[in-house]
Amino acid sequence: MTFEELAVPLLSPLYTYARWLTSDAHEAEDLVQETFLKGLRGFGSFTQGTNFRAWMYRILRNTFLTSRSGLKAQTSIDDDPERFEKLPVESTPESLLFARYDVDRLRGAIAELPLPFREVLLLVDIEEMAYRDVAETLSIPVGTVTSRVMRARKKLREAMR
């Protein structure tokens, strides 16, 4: 398949991803355009049949991380799985907690999440990516994806209390 055939269907999700990463419409446009240019230039090295979607998301994310706002957004978090692997479930009835949530407040809480947490939520909950695809996109182990998803949601719950 050509680059266009593969990439054009991704324009909309990539733009949404860029908007949530940058929080800025113009910056998101530039970011997606640069991603397409880089993708087109690098398409010769892309192995057909492998995960094109994860490849494009990775280009977009790496481009963002080297931009001025991306450098500012980078946060170091503790990904040591030993510390988080066996956290017990919380016994608070979640059904009550999120029965009447405030959308604006939740949106604010998501925006406040450190980038490593925000992006896994974007990819898992919005783009419905499998953990292994998220791992490939973010170049991290699947176990780290699991841990970040769990901790991102924990932070949201805490923020919504």
Binding site: L11, S12, V32, Q33, S91, E94, T146
Partner: protein, 215 residues
């Protein structure tokens, strides 16, 4: 009783684990998974998809987007002459052909974009109430991806399959359909393993016959 870890709960809610035996016995963990699913839904609702500005569509190359337009136009033209297609459910064929044209005209024809059946098949798990058959397609057919579609209030699977520059829509439902006659637009309807397959495309009939043999 040992409870699931928070990571187990996340993995079950995200469809990464099918190991839910414990949930049938433990109300606390079942409640935690339910809560996780509600939070996922809340996050989805709080984080809208943004519409791509026209300026960006132009900047990422008008040509690639326009590349899809002849397909959409061809599909739309096919609708005009498709009325000789009848199924046991009256004008249902028209709806499926409409859906075929709409999806081809959309920049997001599929929600899971992959040529790999091992990616597409599991993606449907939990999204449609049956196991979606996704065979290893042989050239000239190539899997592009899939999505869930609704037709007569029932969820079905949609597979987008490429044959060169042509696109074939394959709808898979549980309900039975029957093709009486087709003309001008190519369609193929068959039943297998309790499922109905409807293939629609602007390709010769023998191509759809060949595709049918793949399933």
């Amino acid at each position: 009783m040992n409870h699931l870890s928070a990571e187990d709960v996340a993995r079950i809610a995200d469809g990464e684990s099918q190991d839910d035996a414990h949930l049938r016995e433990c109300a606390i963990c079942a409640s935690a998974v339910l809560g996780e699913m509600r939070l996922k839904r809340a996050v989805r609702e709080a984080m809208p998809r943004y519409e791509v500005p026209a300026s960006l569509r132009r900047r990422t190359g008008g040509a690639p987007i326009l590349h899809w337009m002849p397909l959409a136009a061809a599909a739309a033209a096919a609708i005009v002459v498709v009325l000789a297609v009848f199924y046991s459910r009256g004008n249902s064929a028209n709806e499926l052909v409409d859906m075929h044209a709409t999806l081809l005209a959309s920049p997001n024809a599929v929600d899971v974009l992959s040529t790999d059946k091992h990616t597409v098949k599991p993606w449907f798990e939990g999204r449609v109430p049956f196991a979606v058959p996704v065979p290893e397609l042989q050239p000239p057919f190539r899997l592009v991806g899939g999505r869930v579609v609704y037709w007569h209030q029932q969820p079905g699977a949609y597979l987008l399959i490429a044959k060169g520059a042509h696109r074939i829509s394959l709808f898979i439902f549980r309900d039975e359909l029957r093709a009486v006659k087709t003309r001008d637009v190519t369609s193929e309807v068959w039943r297998a393993n309790g499922l109905t397959f409807v293939a629609i495309a602007d390709v010769p009939q023998q191509d759809l016959d060949a595709l049918r043999r793949s399933f």
